[in-house]
């Protein structure tokens, strides 16, 4: 019925919903929200069919690629090797992303029915949300870099529009700008990288470029440069250091947006890209992957520490997203061994992070507050939210046997093969993650309510909002089990999740292996972190406060986000605007005054002086005539004589 050939339907349905809503949302009943929701539901169902078709082709032998490519060439200019192709490739990696995007997209659309009820620009919100889903689906389906880049920008613009949904709030407008400009900055690198690859390979097609890279047709330095530029784009979108500044501020947008875009899908576009182009990384110098690891480690550590002191619940979850993204990048940086674990983490992270965000949304919807200084003790008033949130927090921390545990464990195994230093650093980050997640839960859901009015007002969310929470909680628990081959086989994925994914991306398939020693160590660290967190932040959180007073410098450093934002602002104020002033002076003095005005002034002046020739006096005119005759006579005579 529907198979991989029709994979293009998956993005087409939400795109159609976007067009309908963008044009007509004012005239449709309920502003057309059900159209958007319906399109994503259909999209998800179709994704299941596509998955079934794909899994029918498994198992695949080593090096044997399964999947399907479809599409058409839209613009072809053979003289310069330019082909704009709308092409789709479906393979296991694509399937992971399709599953995540369509499922979480569907849940967020349903959740928004309750959360965004009564909010301004309701119809437009759903329109842009559908456009985002369409763009993201096309992004993961794209088989050539040009289409990838177009949809990359597409999700960027949707993110901008959605973050700035409440644009009457100045902070929201600023945050939208910040997000867009920061990611756009990274996108420039991406574009240059794509063009570099196209220049050497003569094509935008991904599989052709990978083949050429593996065959060694690119110069190694050239390829490394291009790959690092691609990583620059990925770093921008996935909020790696130093582009991480936009993600916490992006929480100005509505919470479902944060759940969908800034947790489950858009921010992992960078991770997806790096995973996809792993063959290029493999063919480049090792330094490229080391660079990725360093960037990832920096991001994850910075984020983990900052999560300990932030008070806005959405921001804490945002920093946890940064933490996770950094970890995913580190895993990718391990090369072939780390790709599978990174994709596994991406897969499970989508569920528990979306769960955490939607849980925050539930709290905000109920209490109209989002600062921990105003919350507390909500577990009694909001049981479903509280329990699902706890599940999500524990999954994030990596408690066995929740999904986060399996993902983190595989990353640790890959780290062990890579370097002891990296392994140690990741192990250190585990208790910190556990600590701040528990802190968040404790401050929000336990203890004495700090704002009695908010507490009185709180109530559990309507079913349309709480059912997605439950669904995600279930997935947060079980999604890790897909690594086991029997379970994988049961849902049609032979050789388990890892094996299936790795088959596409890397030469050697590692598959899943449970390293008991590593599991024990990580569990110990996580439990230790949980205990420390409980000690510090339960009840009145006195130990935490004491620690804050003991190390004021550190506390301030973390609260001010390591002053990175201030540094950027300084650069903008002095470097960018300084340069702009110089250019403005040039523009005003040279281009405008001299060039444009000057030409006019010269003409004016010339006219002013020339007019004195018209004296109106007969003798003057006669003189002019005679002078002309005299000149002609001289010329004529000297020519002739």
């Amino acid at each position: 019925m529907v198979d991989m050939e029709q994979a293009w339907l998956l993005p087409a349905l939400p795109a159609a919903a976007f067009v309908i809503l963008a044009l007509f949302h004012q005239y449709l009943p309920r502003k057309g929200d059900l159209i958007a929701v319906g399109s994503t539901v259909l999209s998800f169902l179709l994704a299941l069919f596509v998955a079934a078709d794909l899994f029918g082709q498994l198992p695949a032998g080593p090096g044997e690629l399964v999947g399907n490519t479809s599409g058409f060439d839209w613009v072809e200019i053979p003289d310069i090797d330019f082909v704009l192709r709308i092409g789709f490739r479906v393979d296991q990696v694509t399937m992971v992303m399709l599953a995540v995007v369509s499922f979480v997209g569907m849940l967020v659309h349903i959740y928004s029915l309750g959360y965004m009820k009564g909010e301004p620009r309701y119809g437009w919100y759903y329109a842009v949300l559908s456009l985002f889903v369409a763009s993201m689906l096309t992004l993961v389906l794209a088989d050539n870099f040009l289409l990838l880049y177009v949809t990359w920008e597409g999700v960027g613009i949707c993110s901008y529009l959605l973050i700035g949904h409440y644009w009457e709030r100045r902070t929201a407008a600023e945050a939208a700008k910040k997000a867009f400009i920061t990611t756009r900055f990274g996108d420039v690198f991406l574009l240059i990288g794509i063009v570099m690859l196209w220049r050497e390979a003569g094509t935008f097609d991904m599989s052709e470029i990978f083949e050429k890279a593996e065959a060694g047709e690119f110069g190694k330095t050239y390829l490394t440069a291009a790959t690092l530029l691609l990583f620059g784009g990925a770093a921008g979108k996935s909020a790696q250091f130093p582009f991480h500044v936009w993600l916490p501020d992006a929480m100005e947008g509505p919470t479902p947006v944060s759940a969908l875009i800034h947790a489950a899908t858009m921010v992992v576009a960078g991770v997806y890209l790096v995973a996809r182009v792993m063959p290029l990384f493999e063919a480049s110098y090792d330094g490229a992957l080391y660079f990725v690891v360093v960037v990832g480690l920096t991001t994850t550590f910075m984020a983990a520490f900052m999560g300990l002191v932030m008070t806005d619940i959405k921001r804490v979850v945002a920093y946890s997203t940064l933490n996770s993204l950094g970890l995913m990048m580190v895993s990718l940086g391990f090369g072939e061994a780390g790709v599978g674990p990174a994709m596994l983490y991406l897969f499970t992270h989508a569920f528990f992070k979306a769960l955490l965000f939607l849980g925050c949304g539930s709290v905000i919807h109920a209490t109209e507050k989002q600062e921990t200084t105003d919350l507390g003790g909500l577990a009694a008033k909001m049981p479903i939210t509280g329990r699902t949130f706890a599940v999500g927090a524990l999954a994030m921390a990596g408690v066995v046997p929740l999904s986060g545990f399996f993902a983190k464990d595989e990353i640790l195994v890959a780290a062990q093969d890579f370097s002891w230093a990296a392994l140690l650093l990741i192990l250190v980050s585990l208790p910190i993650t556990a600590m701040y997640m528990l802190r968040l839960y404790l401050l929000t859901f336990t203890g004495e309510p700090r704002d009695r009015h908010a507490y009185e007002h709180a109530h559990e969310s309507p079913p349309v909002m709480s059912w997605p929470l439950v669904a995600l909680a279930v997935l947060a628990v079980v999604s890790g089990f897909v690594v086991f081959e029997p379970i994988g086989k049961a849902i049609g994925v032979h050789s388990g999740f890892l094996g299936a994914v790795e088959n596409v991306l890397v030469e050697e398939v590692h598959g899943f292996s449970l390293d008991w020693a590593m599991a024990a160590v990580s569990t110990l660290l996580v439990v230790g972190g949980l205990y420390a967190g409980y000690y510090a932040w339960s009840g009145a959180a006195l130990p935490a406060k004491a620690a804050g007073e003991r190390f004021p410098f550190l506390y301030r450093l973390l609260r001010n986000k390591f002053y990175v934002d201030d540094f950027y602002q300084w650069v903008i104020n002095y470097v960018v605007l300084g340069l702009a002033k110089v250019i403005a002076v040039f523009d005003r003095a040279v281009v405008n005054d001299t060039g444009v005005n000057g030409a006019g002034e010269v003409t004016n002046g010339a006219g002013f002086f020339l007019k004195f020739q018209q004296t109106g006096k007969l003798p003057n005119y006669a003189l002019a005539m005679i002078v002309g005759v005299a000149v002609l006579a001289i010329v004529g005579f000297s020519v002739k004589g």
Partner: protein
């Protein structure tokens, strides 16, 4: 120096001096009188060139009619400044232009090659001239008379008094 040459030089000097007087003297009536002298000298030149008829015509029409009309015009247009009108403001430039012109002309005259030997001269009598005018050049002659007629009418029309109605 023959008589003819002597006469020529005298006439030439007189003509040039008179012309100088026409263009330099501030008194308009004096310059009109100087003009008459110049015209008469030119008539002398015609005599030297053995075109007596032309000399006759010159004296009659030019020195007689044209000069008289000019004197009439001077009389009728007496303004505040008359009779003394000094030179205009641009006389240096005029001098320069005229000077350039005379230099060029003289150079042309002295350097040019004439098409035939100018040593041999043929004289033309009045009857030959008359015959030519009324045979070969009849049409231009008639047109010239028309020109005179038109000029006459035009002059009358232009200088009519306003009380008799505008044209």
């Amino acid at each position: 120096m023959t008589v003819a040459e002597l006469v020529f030089y005298l006439l030439a000097i007189l003509a040039v001096v008179a012309a100088l007087g026409v263009v330099t003297t501030p008194n308009v009536v004096h310059s009109a009188l100087a003009l008459i002298l110049t015209l008469v000298c030119v008539a002398g030149f015609y005599v030297l060139l053995s075109s007596e008829f032309l000399a006759l015509v010159q004296v009659l029409i030019y020195a007689g009619a044209v000069a008289t009309i000019i004197l009439f015009g001077l009389m009728l247009t007496r303004g505040r400044e008359l009779p003394s009108v000094p030179a205009g403001a641009q006389w240096p430039l005029a001098l320069l232009a005229a000077g350039t012109l005379v230099v060029v002309l003289l150079t042309a005259v002295l350097d040019s090659e004439w098409p035939r030997d100018t040593g041999v001269v043929t004289l033309v009598g009045v009857n030959t001239l008359g015959g030519a005018l009324f045979r070969d050049w009849l049409l231009p002659f008639e047109v010239a008379s028309l020109v005179l007629l038109v000029a006459l009418i035009g002059a009358i029309v232009i200088s009519r008094q306003e009380e008799e109605g505008e044209a």
